[in-house]
Symmetry: C2
Subunit: 123 residues, 2 copies
DNA sequence: ACTGACGTTTACGTTAACGTCAACTTAATA
DNA sequence: TATTAAGTTGACGTTAACGTAAACGTCAGT
């Protein structure tokens, strides 16, 4: 299909402001095509935005999300050393596994909190 | 045991600064006992700190971590409405499940990135 | 030709989460 | 007793991640 999107298209879809999208570009996380001055976003820009926002939900900084985007970049195979890439991927995976543990621990404690709560309501 | 800790004990253990610990107190996330001016931390303060730091790793704001601490607070059964508490607990659980999905999606994509990377290295 | 919606850049403001002094008190140690 | 070492409270500085406002261009519809 190779659809394109305006800046407000993406802003609406992801419930963020256009200011935010331009800011991400200024930080080097996006680089859309231009028609004159106007930005034109392609599917891969939309994917990048998705990655950024998911990263945010997981507590990543924009700098970290930038690295993530580069991992998915089809060009990166040419421009960067593959071994470096594989290392970064593994680092990210390890970090995610740590987060998984944190989440599981938190889930456990939420269960316990609920138990205590239900006990208390039985008087 | 009912051990107690100095502010620098906790700072060392969790690899944060004393300034940070005092800041959390100023924000209402901790309220240690005092011996005169000096702060004395008990086990439950240490637990609260753990919760805060885990929250941070999961991208929670201090305000959110504060709510979490209140969930684990033994007093909360008396002071707050139990139904409200149960609702909050469920909200937190839902949020964690969303994070889980994000993590799984990211893991999947990391695997794909690794694949592409290994393909490229085979030339 | 005018209006209104959408786009642009530039610049300054804001909030959260601390860091960094400074100036002081108290506790322990040589 | 002098001096570290560790604690305290203020006050101001800093960084990331945007928000807000000004001042302007562009184009479709009336």
């Amino acid at each position: 299909m190779n659809k394109t999107y305006s800046i407000s298209d993406l802003a609406k879809e992801f419930a963020i402001t256009t200011r935010t999208i331009r800011f991400y570009e200024a930080e080097g996380l996006l680089c859309p095509q231009r028609n004159g001055q106007t930005r034109i976003y392609a599917d891969h820009d939309r994917v990048s935005l998705k990655l950024i926002l998911r990263g945010k939900r997981l507590g990543f900084s924009l700098a970290e999300s930038k690295e993530l985007i580069e991992l998915y970049d089809p060009q990166s195979g040419n421009t960067r050393q593959l071994q470096t890439l594989l290392t970064k991927i593994q680092e990210r995976r390890d970090a995610l596994n740590e987060q998984l543990k944190d989440i599981q621990a938190m889930q456990l404690e939420l269960n316990q909190a609920e138990q205590r709560c239900r006990e208390a309501s039985k008087k």
